[in-house]
Subunit: 244 residues, 2 copies
């Protein structure tokens, strides 16, 4: 079927990162402005080629995360998102991108003094609903990443990755509300989270609020899977809001 002279084609491999965080109670994504062709000047996901043929893919992803956002590798959730290799997606040739999803707690402030000084947070809904063109097929990758994050909030403890090492349940609730764009009842949310094995563990401390009773602080629990799962109501926040 294949003659002896045939050789497998060589491919260029990139990693791209969908880096999400919660900022101003909104889901936001880190985007960089491209300084080189192709798509010079356009917004793009952080990412780049493997350094060399020996570099593991996950290492490249962590490296890009650090370079482009100045974020320390250990404080992050990082997972494989998908592969985007449609011929023609990159004018430089056959470039296959391994996309990753990263979730980070809210950070001091973006990215001054790093390699990519042009990296900034953008509200996800703004990017997705506006006419802003992202480079390559990054719009699609972003959409997939956000959908992955939404889905994983249901059945995993991913939400805690949006929070710092210690957080109140109200803060955790804000993660769900921002990512899903819904409003939740704080009282039911409280009982639900507490009643789910391994989701969060109290660390004994409390945090003073500007006003009102201080809230207990929690740390991420040992569990990774929520059992039972959080239920994502199909109804949107806009609908719920207008009904009130």
């Amino acid at each position: 079927m294949t003659d002896d002279s045939w050789q497998p084609p060589a491919i260029l491999l990139t990693v791209d990162l969908v880096i999400l965080t919660l900022k101003d109670s909104r889901l936001q994504i880190l985007l960089v402005e491209r300084g080189t062709e192709p798509f010079r000047g356009a917004l793009a996901l952080p990412g780049g080629f493997l350094h060399d043929a020996q570099e593991p893919i996950e290492t490249a992803a962590k490296r890009e995360l650090l370079e482009e956002s100045g974020l320390d590798a250990e404080t992050f959730h990082l997972e494989h998102l998908g592969v985007y290799g449609t011929p023609g997606r990159d004018p430089r040739g056959r470039v296959v991108s391994v996309a990753h999803l990263a979730i980070t707690p809210r950070l001091p402030e973006p990215t001054a003094g790093t390699d990519a000084a042009d990296a900034y947070w953008h509200p996800v809904d703004t990017i997705l609903s506006s006419d802003v063109e992202l480079a390559f097929d990054h719009h699609r990758i972003l959409t997939d990443g956000v959908e992955r994050a939404r889905a994983k909030l249901e059945y995993s403890t991913l939400a805690t990755a949006f929070c710092g090492p210690s957080f109140t349940l109200a803060e955790l609730q804000q993660v769900y509300e921002a990512v899903w764009d819904v409003r939740l009842d704080p009282r039911n949310f409280y009982r639900k989270v507490q009643g789910t094995d391994g989701f969060v563990v109290p660390d004994g401390l409390t945090r003073k609020m500007e006003t009102g009773r201080p809230a207990r602080l929690f740390r991420p629990g040992p569990g990774k899977i929520l059992h039972p799962a959080m239920i994502r109501t199909v109804e949107s926040a806009a609908t719920q809001g207008s009904t009130r």
Copy 2:
């Protein structure tokens, strides 16, 4: 940071397939015996290199599926599973594999007269519990694929992909029982499936059984997401069986 002479490294890309089906009421996987080095003689997932630099990845996956199993592309569920690119996983150099998960209905009989005449179905539990060494990191890919299938039965209509174009609910139940290794109550299963929007639609016909009342036939419904989801009890079938 990067000097002008730097060039991104070239990579070799393969696709590998975890092809699952239901045979003899057991979850089975299609494996081939490798005819060439490396790992000559070992069992491996069907797969291979991209044909050329222009071939889309999904096309390559469908091509391998057809070549190695003789299966027509349209009757299948095929989805991206993951990327396996650890340096050293392939002695031929830096080879990155894009793994896919394929689900097929039970087939006439495997693969006589095709390219890979050495492809056969193997029970998944046998492969996973035995000392059989699969080539490369295919054991890991298989594990991930099975876990993906198990998870997706919960919240998607993937189970129908194991069935033919028309099936009884008892057959659909067997899919869950085999993949999850549990026993389900046919009566509760019946109501559950019927009550879940878009899962199955009756096609009006019935199938005669060897004995007993004929069963209504159903086709896959328009829905892809189960709402509410099927619940996978943590308890194993062995435990349940001994309790009876």
